[in-house]
């Protein structure tokens, strides 16, 4: 048995025996020696015990010798373990070094990329600036205050700046400051209560102008000398709502529709309802038009509390909105077989019940009729009332208050479908 072979390259080969085998062989070898020595001493006349003691004394420290022999048997394995440990440490250090290098490189690349992106953004801004002629600053009650470039070509008015910055839909005061002879002076000042009045802001903007927009708080149109009241526009137009009627101004239906952003689509049905002296709403305009210019004779002068309602041809009333201010809380829409269908204002304080509305509208053409009230709750239309009425007196028990935007439909009994859903 050759325990001493070694590998090439100067690397020793470790002992193929396992620990237990090595221990057992060393034990056997040393025990044989001590037993032989004991026997020799017994043969020389010593007692068994003396012989054993003396043999052990001659041999020396058994455990120490066993340990020395074992260390010699395992010295390659111990060496290889040390080499492994060193290699592992070297590999770990290598991995750590590479990781650090990668992190540093990655970080460097990220920063470089960010710098490039920032440079590109700066270049874009610079390129945009090259097409512009100066800047104007707008601050205050606008959606997007900030510094706006002035286009090199074309008009750029105070109104344009306000539109770019997103004007408030409430009344506001706008002040234009300009540097004149090195001093900042108030160049223009206007109070705008309705957006279409922004057409008045025709001042051309020059480099260095500063626009300050202040909201007009507690704006009270009724006390304002410049307004004589409000008209309401609803339906298929860009900016439905309440619009101020200028004192002394002559606002027509077409001017109101244009001021409210114009028609959303065409053709449309334009209705104008007006409260008469008896307290009833009268329909004074009822036209199908493709454009506001088609109104012709129907382009009447508006009076306070007139209600202009624009509907698509299929009768859908889009973007209905309760006016924010005015003499009414909102409107009820009445349609069908009644004397005066149309839009009815809900009084600010008094109640308007279903029966009162039907009576105000002149009642039904027929004695018995089907009455349906559709109310939109959480964007879903819901039939809150739907039944056959023989006589308006029948309603007394079931009468209820109407709410803004309720749609009341009256159908003559002759048109009634079978009420399978009742």
């Amino acid at each position: 048995m050759n325990e001493s072979a070694s590998l090439g390259f100067g690397l020793p080969r470790s002992d193929p025996r396992d620990d237990q085998q090595i221990d057992a062989e060393i034990d056997d070898e040393l025990t044989f020696h001590i037993d032989q020595a004991t026997r020799e001493l017994v043969e020389a006349g010593q007692s068994d015990d003396d012989a054993k003691v003396n043999a052990l004394a001659r041999f020396g420290d058994v455990n120490k010798i066993k340990a020395q022999c074992k260390r010699i048997a395992l010295e390659e394995r111990i060496m290889l373990q040390r080499i492994n440990l060193v290699l592992m440490i070297v590999v770990l250090l290598g991995v750590a070094f590479v990781s650090v290098q990668m992190y540093v490189t990655q970080r460097h690349n990220t920063l470089a990329l960010q710098a490039i992106v920032a440079d590109l953004a700066d270049m874009k801004v610079a390129a945009a600036q090259a097409d512009r002629d100066g800047k104007v600053t707008i601050v205050g009650a606008v959606s997007r205050p900030g510094i706006y470039p002035i286009p090199k070509t074309g008009d750029y008015t105070l109104a344009d700046v306000l539109v770019d910055a997103g004007p408030s839909d409430r009344a506001f005061e706008v002040k234009l400051f300009r540097r004149v002879n090195g001093e900042r002076t108030l160049f223009a000042q206007e109070t705008i209560s309705m957006l279409h009045e922004m057409d008045r802001l025709k001042e051309q903007i020059v480099d260095g102008d500063r626009v300050v927009v202040a909201p007009v708080l507690n704006y009270q149109p009724a006390q304002s000398t410049s307004h004589m009241g409000f008209v309401y526009v609803d339906g298929s137009i860009l900016r439905p709502g309440a619009y101020a009627l200028q004192a002394g101004g002559n606002m027509t239906v077409s001017m109101l529709i244009k001021g409210a952003g114009g028609l959303k689509q065409s053709p449309v049905h334009v209705q104008v309802t007006r409260l008469d002296k008896a307290g009833n709403f009268q329909t004074i305009v009822d036209s199908l038009i493709n454009d506001v210019s088609d109104l012709n004779q129907s382009d009447v002068l508006l009076q306070p509390d007139d209600h202009v309602i624009v509907t698509t041809v299929d009768g859908e009333i889009a973007d209905m909105k309760v006016p924010a201010k005015g003499s009414s809380r909102g409107f009820i829409y009445l349609d069908g077989d009644v004397q005066r269908p149309g839009v009815y204002a809900l009084p600010q304080v008094a109640r308007l019940t279903l029966s009162r509305l039907v009576v105000s509208a002149g009642g039904s053409d027929t004695a018995a009729f089907h009455l349906r009230v559709i109310r939109t709750v959480d964007r879903k239309p819901d039939k809150v009332f739907d039944r056959l009425v023989d006589d308006l007196g029948d309603l007394a028990e079931d009468d209820f208050d109407l709410e803004p935007n309720d749609l009341v439909v009256v159908a003559a009994t002759k048109d009634l479908p079978t009420n399978s859903d009742e």
Partner: protein, 122 residues
């Protein structure tokens, strides 16, 4: 028991004695110890246990081969045998030893002659 302390072995001499003993033929550790004791005329008393680390180290270096077989007392014993490498090493070490002892002898005898000369002059 009054007895003179046996002389201590010089470093490296145990290997030389083991190799020389095994040059006669294979033997186990106990046999090697007994033979060294006998051939040295009971002068060299090696602590017997110290023989084994030396044997294992020589085997590891390829100077010895080992093998388990039955001893003269019919017990299993580990026998060591000189390899070619061991034989070469034995020759080299024997030569070294001879040179060393000759040189030491010369030094020792020179000192004695010097002493005699000094005495003659005086």
């Amino acid at each position: 028991m009054a007895r003179n302390k046996p002389p201590e072995l010089l470093p490296g001499t145990l290997d030389l004695m083991i190799l020389k003993t095994l040059a006669v033929g294979p033997n186990h550790g106990y046999g090697i110890a007994r033979r060294i004791k006998q051939t040295s005329g009971d002068v060299l008393h090696v602590e017997e246990g110290s023989l084994y680390p030396a044997l294992h180290r020589l085997a590891k270096r390829g100077c010895l081969d080992s093998e388990w077989r039955s001893s003269e007392s019919n017990r299993r014993a580990k026998y060591y045998r000189l390899t070619r490498k061991g034989r070469t090493k034995l020759k080299a070490q024997t030569r070294n030893w001879s040179q060393l002892t000759t040189a030491i002898d010369k030094v020792l005898s020179a000192r004695t002659a010097e002493k005699a000369a000094t005495k003659g002059w005086a």
